[in-house]
Amino acid sequence: MSPDVIQAILITVVTAATPLLIAALGELVVERSGVLNLGVEGMMIIGAVTGFGAAQITGSPWAGVLVAIVCGALFSLPFAVLTLSLATNQVATGLSLTLLGLGVAGMIGEQFVGLPGVRLEAIAIPGLVDIPLIGRLLFGQDPIFYLSILLAFGVWWFIFRTRAGLTLRAVGDSHGSAHALGINVLRVRYLAVMFGGACAGLAGAHLSLVYIPQWVENMTAGRGWIALALVVFASWLPLRVVIGAYLFGAVTIAQFHAQAQGVAIPSQFLSALPYLATIVVLVLISSNRRMTMRNTPASLGKPFVPDR
């Protein structure tokens, strides 16, 4: 394989990984605050459909991106109100957010089926893009890719280098102590959940404006769930999410290439690979208990009702 072919393949890997990376980073912040939101898939598909729709109506893919982010954040609110203000079970509420999101997106999206999409074009960074071997891979990508890299470092910096990040971790590790210190636990969690929604919305916009610039029902195809698995895989460390997302991107793309090459394995088995890989990775991570336990937010999934 020539270097150019390898670079072309790596570009597709990165494109497949970007929505996973963004959604997982958002969920990582949510889980660091002690909330488990299983609604990623639902918020992501809302981002995909609203982003596609806004781009259709305005003709501007950027409007699509913006609308997707806002709608993702807004769509996380019912989850936030129920789990935070009404202390409902987070697992069940997150599931219902996913079911609702898939339903609402299917309904909104009916009018978009079959329409040609508006593509968010790649931005080549002048000069740098001409570097051989890595130029196009790193500097000739779609804008959401650049954003995802900034986001990864931004989330890392926020969590480990800022006071607000320390507050976030405190809330996630021991909401009782954080409350006793005068931190408004619920406010921190509301903000974290909405940030997660915004990220999932952006990830959805990447799907419907960059990855497959079209609206297809259920187009997220489990990516929201894979993003959830990535957070566990990364043991709640942002930079490890980057590695995990690109590994999953590679599995997805390897499976496409194998199908295109006519490998003598039924295409359905190849399509199942990313899902099976998710399970294998989860098993490997969970069997190493020391590594997972160290970073797991101790209050994860537990409702907090302040005593008054």
């Binding site: 299983l38 019912p78 129920l82 203000s85 009404l86 202390a87 409902t88 079970n89 697992v91 069940a92 509420t93 599931l95 219902s96 957010l97 079911l99 609702l100 999101g101 898939l102 339903g103 609402v104 299917g106 309904m107 009916e110 195809a221 489990g222 769930w225 959830l228 698995a229 566990v232 039924p266 359905q268 088995f269 399509s271 199942a272 899902y275 099976l276 998710t278 399970i279 989860l282 098993v283 969970s286 069997s287 208990r289 009702v305 008054r308």
Partner: protein, 365 residues
């Protein structure tokens, strides 16, 4: 800022334990009415088309029972899982694997006929669903792998496996290349109950039986007590000598077997062959059924009928109002949200707190 405050009740409210599902249905109807108004339809007409019209004709009640059957079977199994704090959300996959395993006889051995075929199919369906559910159970018990994610991932794998079977090795040799298996022979079809008036089959009887048996187990046996104790406090369960690991297997196998049974009943009773898509998401809708029924098998029977109604209403509203049948999925999502929100009333009193003018400092507590 005005905010919501929760005040813990000393005891669970018996009143709201009964009322909460009804309040939830009311809230959903209200939101549904608003949604119809936003779509430019009459709210009353919309709700009528959804929830009343399907009940006005006999054939349609048969369809209601057909759709309620898988929902009840799956949700009854899920109640065992959820009560014991095992989050099996891969019932859709267990449904599909049950349908596949149960179809082995009529698809691969169509020459074998007789009265024993159907019972064998049902048993194989249960075994198929249970086997598929054992995977996340084993991974959770052995490695501590998150069962939510592993059971869900297996749904996609099961869907792809079914797709491969009906397009590849199990495709009907005389089927003009359609992606479907041969039609089941007469001995492999679950008979209809009252074939004069509609196509409802005996699957519903299995659903009611399953609900009764699991209800008895949960409320009248030591096993039921064990399920609740381990679900509420694994630590207390350990002191009582219960094994959380064994419970993981028990819960997943029971719910997998019931989902598998639902799968083969659906294929043998309602469809008559395997196709690439055999479920409109029954495995996920059943999660809503389980919660609306408050994880009580008898409540689940009622909840299953209500959710089945939403599927039928979706079809009816599409025909009579021209509203997308996708509205049904939105209804189902809103319903689960309302159910969960109303369940809060059982454990907490809700107080709306208005901003206070600068108060005198509170005495130290």
């Amino acid at each position: 800022m005005t905010r919501i405050e929760l005040v813990r009740r000393p005891q669970h409210s018996a009143l709201f334990s009964v009322l909460s599902p009804f309040i939830a249905v009311l809230i959903t109807a209200l939101i549904g009415g608003i949604m119809f108004a936003m779509l430019g339809k009459s709210p009353i007409g919309g709700l009528y088309a959804y929830f009343i019209e399907p009940l006005t004709e006999v054939w349609s009640i048969h369809e209601l029972i057909i759709k309620a059957t898988p929902l009840i079977l799956i949700a009854v199994g899920l109640s065992v899982c959820f009560l014991s704090n095992n989050w099996n959300i891969g019932a859709e996959g267990q449904f599909i694997m049950g349908a596949i395993a149960g179809s082995v006889m009529p698809v691969l051995y169509p020459g074998i006929t007789g009265p024993m075929v159907l019972p064998l199919m049902l048993v194989m369906g249960m075994a198929g669903g249970a086997a598929w559910a054992t995977i996340p159970a084993f991974l959770k018990a052995r490695f501590g792998t998150n069962e939510i994610l592993s059971s869900l991932m297996l749904v996609y794998v099961a869907e792809l496996f079914l797709d491969w079977l009906v397009r590849g090795p199990w495709r009907n040799p005389e089927g003009f290349n359609f992606p479907e298996t041969r039609s089941f022979h007469a001995d492999a079809i679950l008979p209809e109950m009252l074939s004069a008036s509609g196509r409802a089959h005996y699957g519903f009887v299995f659903a009611i039986l399953a609900a009764l048996i699991v209800w008895f187990m949960l409320s009248r046996t030591l096993k039921g007590y064990e399920i609740r104790v381990l679900g509420e406090s694994p630590r207390a369960g350990r002191f009582a000598g219960f094994s959380a690991k064994r419970m993981v297997f028990f819960a997943f196998i029971v719910s997998g077997a019931l989902a598998g049974l639902a799968g083969i009943i659906e294929v043998s009773g309602a469809i008559g062959q395997l196709r690439p898509a055999i479920s409109p998401g029954y495995g996920f809708t059943a999660i809503i059924v389980a919660f609306l029924g408050r994880l009580n098998p008898l409540g689940i029977v009622a909840a299953g009928l209500i959710l089945a109604l939403s599927y039928l209403g979706g079809e009816a509203a599409q025909i009579s109002l021209g509203v997308s049948d996708k509205v049904a999925n939105v209804f189902q999502g809103v319903l689960l949200f309302s159910v969960l929100a109303c369940d809060t009333l059982i454990r907490y009193r809700i107080r709306i707190v208005r901003p206070q003018p600068a108060a005198t400092p509170e005495p130290a507590r």
